[in-house]
Symmetry: C2
Subunit: 492 residues, 2 copies
């Protein structure tokens, strides 16, 4: 391929940027901080969307759509939420452009179209949605409301990275309303489980489920649950969050319901979301120095067939010979690409499909037709082996499962190697700075200590893991008593 | 149901608003001009999306995503396009809010966050996309580019109607780039055909394919093709447009390619879109005084089973008896709802599902289990008939086809009754004002005459139909010569 490769070991960050660009996933746009998601990148996102959407629907949720804009007076209502997002809000102030009298050919915001009230471009939709739910909820019979929205949101960012941190991004946001605290808590955790299942079984990325500390909580939540994945450089990436919002939004927007017992009570809420950030996690968890590596369950193309030929006649023979296989694989739910572009040579095509992470590649020449066998390449392990034509379909189908499993196992293994249980400050520094991984450590539970550790090491508490045996100990920094270990790491 | 019904014959416009609200399709939001699409309405939109998306992909298109914002300097570049949309643009001028020192608890746009260059919230994406294509296109090998985007857009509107005209709406916009004029023209017409097929075969709405007059053309297009449907009140609704953009955007954004012959040439372009407006068309084309009527191909629920019972034991028996049928219908691709809510009586449920347009309803009581037969109701004709349990599955499947066909035929018939071929001004007035329909009339081809007719009658030229025998005549208003008939109508 006509581009320079960057090795992970040389510069992980540059490797990532280079890969996103060269595999045609996304690029920066003319709008500061906003990205263009290119067709190949978008095809992967669509696969994620479709799967998540099915999982949301299976758990009883429905989709809806709420406005892009939030009037400032609504945005302000839940104070913590407003305070948390105010610094990154795009603000619409005018609704018309007019010719600029001083600059021919140019337009300007028409001063006569100034809005009485500014509109915030949604950074998240709790405010506009709870203002709407207010009219939908009178009685316990109207509950629960289990709604999800697929949308774009804007959070102004100065330092952006494709997929990981952009001013505009695509996401889904679930917003549910419940009659009781218990039910809302069950929902919060249920959706965390859905996210964990998606991360592990579809993205092939093992995750730690946990609760955020108060410092890291969603603005307006009583508790934020999260899944955290480890990237190949040992850094953490928050892959999804599920918030227990208590009655905060119900109180801010005065949303009450009449209970079965006839009492007026505030409604309980959750919200939960994952975004195009998951694309960053997918890329960083599995890819290698040759390019993207995709788990079959999320690959837009599962199998690419590259014909090796000299004449148009040979090409046609190869094409015909591979038709039955393609048809069978398609029937089994796989997407097969026969790459018959005559503008590129096979070597170029091999490299290109490797770069794009297609799980299985077949190279088929005239000699293969004679011998009735085909060379199969696995993208994940780069193994090559020859398979008799008659076994090809079955072998490819099992390969899909093998690759999916191998990617998860590989990610679980590098994660295991970089998970360090530490008991002293020195061990902590070694784990974070030298071994570059996660540190399971005791912490005294104070926000100040957390802040101090962040200042000293750039490591933050990713979460208080949900699945751990209770264990007492002493804080690695202050020596004060601790009730359990938390996960520290540098994070994206 | 606990709402007042409005008859179409009494007030068609109020009937529509009432229906959209009571069938839980959409509602006005706290943001002026923006709507909330409620779950049931969104489920229909999702069905439309899925089908259209499949059709776009079958015709070789891929999806991608471009930024929500367009920098003003890019927006200005294609002058006609900019001029056409300038008056309805939401403008972002600041990227941060801060506490308002004069009003405790309130926020204000932070003056220090004023953008150097204003950002326009996309009213359509030609500008940002062609600025991007510029970097993607060097050679004829890079063409064609066949990209579609599903997105929200904003066109500020003072007078809004749910689905039909809202400040923010959801749509898809295809943006293609081609090496030749011929190829771009073929694409423009191909996508018009896709829209027509969708309208007729899925929405069950017959459409007229045609070309817009210069006055009605998309700002920045050389030609705008459209499909026009007729609503039950005889008014026209533009259901989709496909634009031949010539080289206008390529010239504005300096997008050139090296041809096979080695020459540098400007790229040819098309764009095409349909929006949540289609929801309005779907509602107005088929629904009746009892509520929504949905074609089976776009119905979120195909069959509702309402149990008629006195005891929980009976309910359980009915549920068990209907399970095999539900399973069979699901296997055949239908969505079946068993309405076992104990908070409502059967009569209420019948009215509710009628209001929501579910194509087929079954009412099942204990006597039906004994007689092994069930009462089936068709939503479109309101016919009721008893079907033996053993025939039920087959009968329901054929009913789906019958209802789909009947809705199209019915719409085609009322359209035929309101299509008037007229030759004089008086006939024209009768057709438009008294018979309230479409008028096929000769027109002298001038924008002035078109404008004049609009002033006099509120009727506009919906399109110059593509499928018509050539015929000369004289303009109904001016008596000047005409080369063919055009379609006049009042329009949404």
């Amino acid at each position: 391929m006509a581009f320079e490769k960057v090795k992970r070991s040389d510069n992980y960050s540059e490797w990532y940027n280079n890969l996103v660009k060269n595999a045609d996933l996304a690029e920066h746009s003319a709008v500061k901080g906003c990205m263009v998601i290119k067709p190949y990148g978008y095809a992967i996102w669509e696969k994620m969307q479709r799967q998540l959407d099915d999982m949301f629907k299976e758990t009883g949720h429905v989709n809806a759509y709420f406005p892009l804009f939030v009037p400032k007076s609504l945005f302000e209502k839940e104070e913590k939420n407003a305070e948390g997002f105010a610094k990154e809000c795009a603000v619409v102030t005018h609704y018309r452009l007019k010719a600029n009298p001083d600059k021919p050919g140019q337009l300007m915001a028409d001063p006569d179209s100034k809005l009485e009230e500014e509109l915030v471009v949604r950074p998240t939709s709790e405010a506009i949605i709870w203002n709407t739910y207010k009219n939908w909820i009178q009685s316990y019979r109207d509950l629960p409301i289990l709604i999800n929205q697929w949308a774009n949101v804007v959070r102004w960012e100065m330092r952006t990275r494709l997929f990981l941190r952009t001013a505009e991004f695509l996401w889904q946001e679930g917003h549910t309303a419940h009659a009781s605290k218990e039910e809302a808590l069950v929902e919060t955790k249920k959706m965390l489980d859905v996210y964990a299942e998606f991360a592990e079984n579809f993205m092939a990325v093992p995750v730690i489920k946990g609760v955020k500390t108060e410092n890291e909580r969603f603005a307006g939540a009583d508790d934020t649950y999260c899944i955290e994945g480890m990237m190949q450089d040992g850094k953490a990436l928050q892959m999804g969050t599920s918030h227990f919002l208590g009655q905060n939004f119900a109180k801010a927007f005065d949303v009450k319901f009449q209970s079965k017992e006839g009492k007026l009570e505030h409604v309980w809420a959750t919200s939960w979301g994952v975004s195009t950030r998951l694309m960053g996690a997918l890329i960083m968890a599995h890819s290698d120095d040759e390019g993207l590596v995709l788990p079959p369950k999320l690959a837009p193309i599962h199998v690419v067939i590259v014909p090796v030929y000299r004449s148009d006649e040979d090409l046609e023979k190869i094409k015909q010979a591979m038709k039955p296989l393609s048809a069978q694989l398609k029937q089994a739910g796989l997407t097969v690409k026969f790459d018959d572009r005559d503008t590129y040579k096979p070597g170029f095509k091999f490299a290109e499909w490797e770069l794009k992470g297609v799980p299985v590649r077949l190279a088929v020449g005239m000699r293969d037709l004679e011998s009735q066998s085909v060379e199969v390449s696995r993208r994940d392990t780069k193994e090559k082996f020859v398979v008799p034509m008659s076994d090809l379909q079955a072998r490819i189908l099992t390969l899909m499962d093998e690759i999916q499993t191998n990617l998860f196992d590989r990610a679980a293994q590098y994660r295991a190697e970089k998970m360090h249980v530490v008991n002293t400050w020195d061990e902590f520094l070694v784990a974070i700075n030298e071994k570059e991984g996660f540190a399971f450590a005791h912490w005294d539970g104070s926000g100040e200590t957390e802040e101090k550790i962040k200042e000293l090491t750039k490591a933050t508490i990713r979460c208080i893991p949900m699945d751990q045996a209770s264990e007492t100990g002493v804080c690695i920094l202050t020596g004060k008593p601790s009730q359990g270990r938390v996960v520290f790491a540098k994070a994206y």
